[in-house]
Symmetry: C2
């Protein structure tokens, strides 16, 4: 069927990114692409997928991500209607060039033709105008079908020194020839570029025919070609053997016949809280607020709240980001200093930089409600039909209280002969899992299972867990 419909492009979403520029909302374990920002309830990854699905099919969309993001990616995309099997797992993060080659290999293996076009797109950017984006993609697909490797040029709104620039010479009315890719410039050059009107920001979005990129790999990045055209079982090995290079450095800056399609769609990489404010809907006082927020006087503030009530008086041009375990406050314009502060926090051993109060697992999600020396309390949601791995803890006993749905709980001793006890636990009921006992939590029902887990013990760290068996067919992995 795919071969009969060659006009529709494939799409590769690169979801490998990590970073804490939007700390404390983003954490090492919860990077930007998985966050809902700027007044939209869907995450940047979800919005990216839905954007691409407006002009291609589910079965042509893939997400390239390292294993540690697998659960989050599938949790978020299944939630917006994707079918399973769309994740292409990176054996490890090796930058964009190997990632794209890996994606190409999997597409070819799953029946894509070398003549098919592919759109490659980051997962953590914001696009305001879906229409303009779709139009640019349509243009790019035609340009790619004509044998061009297409990059998208974003018209600079300011002489930003944080982006690479694309130098173009006008030729043709819909796509231009690219003269040169320029690394992040200094302020002086950035100014010149913007004034000249011939430079665009490089947004890291690309479109090409598989065959053309394979040729470009051959010429400039043979390790990429070795990945993309390998037999399935060699793909991973070749991937791990490839150098960590960006697609710009490995191919774009060297290949000929690269064209640029301008993208005027309100693009932003939302790289700071200031840019989150700029891209958020505002109320009468130019405040961008979410959560339980009450502001009196002042204006031009960004307040990102959670459950807690936030009350601000006479706040002006401030940024307030509240999460269950960490709060960030700064005047606008200072938010780029956040990176350094977060590094200091990490150096001083604060776990709030890496750990996220919310986590996704193959079986569902959990949220830490409260942490103490001898206890930790979690809200756990297990998806219908899913179950956690059979496990035990050396230092803590666990109490599971069912808030919603019905749980099937297995508790048994160790060793072959040990007798297993399976119990159904219903709404409002609870079950006790003693220290050291093997146990498993499962949702046999048709609705999500919500439980409160209270851990009590001399040590309640996440690493006190022994998994006896991981059954991915039914779910498994970290519980």
């Amino acid at each position: 069927m795919e071969r009969n419909d060659a006009k529709k492009p494939y799409a590769l979403i690169l979801a490998g990114g990590s970073g804490t520029r939007l700390w404390p909302l983003s954490r090492e374990e919860m990077p930007k692409q998985f966050l809902a920002l700027c007044g939209d309830s869907r995450t940047l990854l979800q919005r990216t997928a839905l954007r691409l699905l407006s002009f291609t099919d589910k079965d042509r969309l893939r997400v390239v991500a390292s294993g540690k993001w697998k659960a989050l990616v599938s949790h978020q995309l299944l939630a917006v209607g994707m079918d399973s099997g769309f994740i292409i797992e990176e054996p490890e993060g090796r930058n964009t060039a190997p990632a794209i080659a890996l994606g190409m290999a999997r597409l070819l293996a799953s029946g894509a033709s070398p003549d098919d076009t592919v759109i490659v797109c980051p997962s953590d950017h914001l696009i305001k105008s879906e229409e303009n984006f779709a139009a640019a993609m349509e243009t790019a697909t035609r340009a790619a079908s004509a044998g061009n490797i297409v990059t998208f040029g974003i018209k600079p709104t300011n002489p930003d020194t944080g982006f690479g620039y694309i130098k173009t010479s006008r030729a043709g009315d819909q796509w231009f020839h690219v003269d040169e890719f320029v690394e992040k410039p200094d302020a002086e050059n950035a100014r010149k570029y913007v004034e000249s009107g011939r430079y665009y920001w490089n947004g890291g979005i690309f479109c090409f025919r598989l065959s053309d990129m394979l040729r470009a790999f051959e010429a400039h990045f043979p390790e990429g070609e070795a990945i993309a055209s390998a037999d399935s079982e060699r793909v991973a090995l070749n991937f791990l053997a490839a150098p960590k290079l960006s697609i710009d450095y490995a191919v774009m800056e060297k290949a000929d016949g690269i064209v640029c399609v301008p993208l005027d769609a309100g693009w932003s990489d939302v790289g700071s809280w200031d840019s989150v404010y700029d891209n958020s809907p505002k109320n009468g006082s130019e405040n961008a607020v979410s959560g339980n927020v009450c502001l009196s006087g002042g204006g031009n503030n960004l307040v990102v709240g959670c459950e807690r009530l936030i009350c601000g008086v006479d706040l002006d041009s401030m940024i307030v980001v509240d999460t269950p375990d960490a709060l960030f406050i700064s005047p606008k314009g200072s938010s780029q200093k956040l990176r350094g502060v977060v590094q200091e926090l990490k150096a001083s051993g604060r776990t709030e930089v890496a750990e996220s109060p919310t986590s996704a697992r193959p079986w569902g999600t959990y949220r830490v409600l409260s942490k103490g020396d001898r206890q930790k309390i979690k809200k756990i949601e297990v998806a219908p039909g899913k179950r956690l791995s059979l496990q035990y803890h050396v230092h803590r006993s666990e109490h599971w209280i069912v808030v919603k749905g019905t749980a099937l709980v297995t508790i048994r001793g160790h060793g072959e002969g040990a007798s297993a006890e399976e119990t159904f636990v219903h709404e409002g009921e609870s079950v006790f899992v003693p220290k050291g006992k093997l146990h498993r939590l499962e949702n046999p029902g048709k609705i999500p299972l919500e439980i409160i887990e209270v851990q009590i013990g001399e040590y309640v760290g996440e690493d006190d867990i022994e998994r006896v068996e991981d059954d991915f067919s039914r779910a498994g992995q970290t519980g």
Copy 2:
């Protein structure tokens, strides 16, 4: 024994005050006097009691407070070494004149002589110099023994319009004759008062012989005399019959022979977050911080944190007050607008104005860790030998998990014949209390009992509680 030691004064602490000027730390259910402020781990009430105990005896100290503060007062003062029985309970709040009369009645009933002197003192003020305070009290006690009713004059540091003023004419070197008590003046008059050097702030602290105040009552506030000199069983009735008047209005402004002893002891009524900042110890950048706070750049900030990490970048002269369920942020100088904002919050139905995440009960304390539609999670601490009242809930089941200590739990059905089940629950164990079942929690041990309570139900409000029996001898009251 008291009669042999007439030189030591009695002390009445007035702890009836309420207010939310320091919201969200102070709540309707947790007024200022019960808060630890300005870098001291002891609450204002505790510091007030310890200050008075530096020159009088435990058995001469009483706290006048309405019933709703009884648990908090005794919890906090027992914690700083007071013996029980020091609380004089107001049948209801009727302002300071009836409160003082009530205190006098109880003192006389417990063996005080009319010649004994009494110091009356609010519970929610800050005193920096304990030495100067003690010296002023010593002076005042001598003035009182000489037949004067003494008020204390605080040298104004600014033309504040929030206080009443005392006009004096110099006479004698240690105490002056009071010409006049002046109500809160306008800015213009306040300025004149301060410039004249003859005006003091009225700090609401007094010292007198019981007999002299009884005479003053007789002349100017007969209802007070009716309270102070009634038989024990008539005291409460007469108290309830008295008008709600301040001691200033009822007596001080009218009586003759009132003298003023200057009090130069770094007094503050800590009536706003700005004044909390002014009275707090500062670090190098003039920041006053408590909790897990990390400030980078800026300075002159007050940051009052709780468990959560608070990270501020380039904050300047800001006030940040964080509590588990509410956060307040404002620039310094705007904190007096808080009162109006809090009123709006209350009008809009926010429970964070009245309810406090921490509460004291006769049996111990509890803290709300997490609240949801269908669940509420509390950390409960029951003092050794104490127990909650026998109770049941219509809408929720409860799960008790013992974190520390040992619990004795009673669960039984309703009606005479119903069988009662008493179980010991040990560390790491839990017990389930079904909806509608009568239950009681008790700490039979020698160390505090810590439990996590998880409430599950279609309604988890505090008012879903039916108490079957209150056993104050062993504890009782709200569970």
